[in-house]
Amino acid sequence: MSLLKAEGLGIQFGGLKAVDEFNFEMNQNQLYGLIGPNGAGKTTVFNLLTGVYKPTSGQIIFNGKSLLKMTPTQITQLGIARTFQNIRLFKKMSVIDNVKVGLHHSQNYSLLSSILHLPSYFKGEEAMHEMAMSLLRVFDLEKYADVKAGNLPYGKQRKLEIARALATSPKLLLLDEPAAGMNPIETEELMETIKIVREKFSIAILLIEHDMKLVMGICEKIAVLNFGTVLAFGTPDEIKNNPDVIAAYLGNEE
């Protein structure tokens, strides 16, 4: 059984079909890429998969369950986590608290036990702290634990967003242009981190990226989106040599 399956997925904004007849399938622990020209509908696909937008047609099956009637909260709890193209951290909260929000469901001490400062409260908070710190360590962010998230440099904010997403212990991680705004060295680092994350947490990753070197370098398979539909799907080599893909990219450059 596949982990994620989208069938004939589509959404319309007014007259614009942002995504149309989107078919896609992914299995556990795979690392796929989603590319396409600007405005192709990549971010919209993520918004559909995470319940931010409700599709006007089609079906999404995740882990055997239909996501159509679920809220974004429920979908996240089911195991899809994501980052955003335009970073959306909790800016005024500390770095570690951002991760702890993601870890919310990892502990279940009640409100009453925190008011009465019962042992379960301290135990839960301690465990959460440990988990958050070890997640921050994966991204070399542990020294910034108490810094306000909004005060982090751009590249580190992107990493923190991934850490917060991982905190929800997802089965599928959606990364929306994780390397945007990073310099080549940072991008290189990020590639390594993504590989490590996938192995360490044994999760599937789907990433949107404009940096072709990164996508071609780490993705097993790539889907190319154009005008909301899948134009091509295959290994990086197949995609590189696909005439349709080349035409779509070149045609879009004027």
């Binding site: 995470t50 008011i115 702290h129």
Partner: protein
């Protein structure tokens, strides 16, 4: 982390105890007379109102103008419990708070979908509806006022301890995973949902806790005044509480406490300006909205306080 938190708590409790001891001493020595002890009681009530509203408006980020409505529900419910059911004061107080809390949940479920101006208007309307209901019910004695429910031997300690408990509970809520969920909703609701936070639940929870303590404040107010008239709990009172929260800083518990105390005591010195008070409140609120909207806060802060890092509010 655990040690530091316990240390902070102990220090805060010792500070509260010292303040309490000092006030009690000054009262027994006659330095604080009957008139001023009344003002101190009102300060405690306002601290409860401001800190509880801060949970909904500061931490959760939902600006509401109905806090006096919840206060009114608490005040009338507890007064009626004392008057007709002859329940002991603390039990009446608790029932009043629970009633306010339930009304809070009832109002919260349909309205917390709304944001900004809309929520302000709806809660303002709720405030007025409650006032009109209290005015027209026969059991509340309408505009003539409700009397004869006051309990004996309730002194300053009860008000002070209630204020301390309120602050403590709100602090605990904020410092828990529940509090982080509430703050994350204020920061970015979509990101919060997509981090797995059940946002509707936490909005209503924060609103309910906020209303509960408004109910406590109402019950205490009823006990202190000994007479209730619906016009006390009109939107002017709601505006006054919101101004305390805004002046003290949204999401700043210490700020709310200080603002509530200052705004209780200061008017006593500025009697001559009493007529202009609402005007001043309006100006403060408008200024606060502009500063928040344009995000001028950090810039103003760094201009006036030349510290290198902007302090993290707690």
């Amino acid at each position: 982390m655990k040690k530091k938190q316990i240390k902070d708590l102990i220090i805060s409790f010792i500070a509260a105890l010292v303040i309490y001891g000092l006030i009690m001493f000054l009262m027994s020595a006659g330095v604080v007379d009957y008139y001023w002890s009344g003002i101190l009681i009102m300060a405690c009530i306002n601290v409860i109102l401001a800190t509880s509203l801060n949970l909904a408006s500061g931490y959760l980020g939902q600006l509401t103008l109905g806090h006096a409505g919840f206060m009114s529900v608490g005040a009338y419910t507890s007064a009626l419990c004392s008057l007709y059911l002859h329940l002991p004061f603390l039990l009446s107080l608790l029932i009043g708070a629970i009633a306010a809390c339930l009304i809070g949940i009832l109002i919260g479920i349909p309205t917390l979908r709304l944001k900004g101006d809309y929520l302000c208007i709806i809660t303002l309307a709720f405030n007025e509806i409650i006032r009109v209901i209290m005015l027209n019910l026969s059991i509340t004695n309408g505009a003539k006022g409700l009397m004869g429910f006051q309990a004996m031997n309730i002194d300053f300690s009860v008000y002070f301890i209630s204020a301390v408990i309120t602050i403590y509970v709100i602090y605990c809520v904020v410092k828990s995973r529940h509090g982080r969920a509430i703050i994350s909703i204020c920061e970015d609701e979509t990101a919060s949902e997509l981090s797995g936070i059940p946002t509707s639940y936490y909005k209503i929870l924060a609103f309910a806790i906020s209303a509960f303590f408004a109910g406590v404040a109402g019950g205490l107010y009823a006990q202190y005044m000994g007479m209730l008239v619906p016009s006390t709990f009109d939107y002017n009172k709601s505006v006054e509480i919101l101004v305390m929260v805004v002046l003290g800083g949204l999401g700043n518990l210490k700020g709310s406490i200080i603002a509530a105390i200052v705004m209780t005591i200061l008017p006593e010195y500025l009697r001559a300006f009493a007529d202009y008070r609402m005007l001043l409140y309006a100006v403060v609120l408008i200024a606060a909205m502009i500063i928040k909207e344009k995000n001028l806060g950090p810039r103003i802060k760094s201009k006036f306080f030349k510290n290198k890092t902007v302090e993290v509010d707690d």
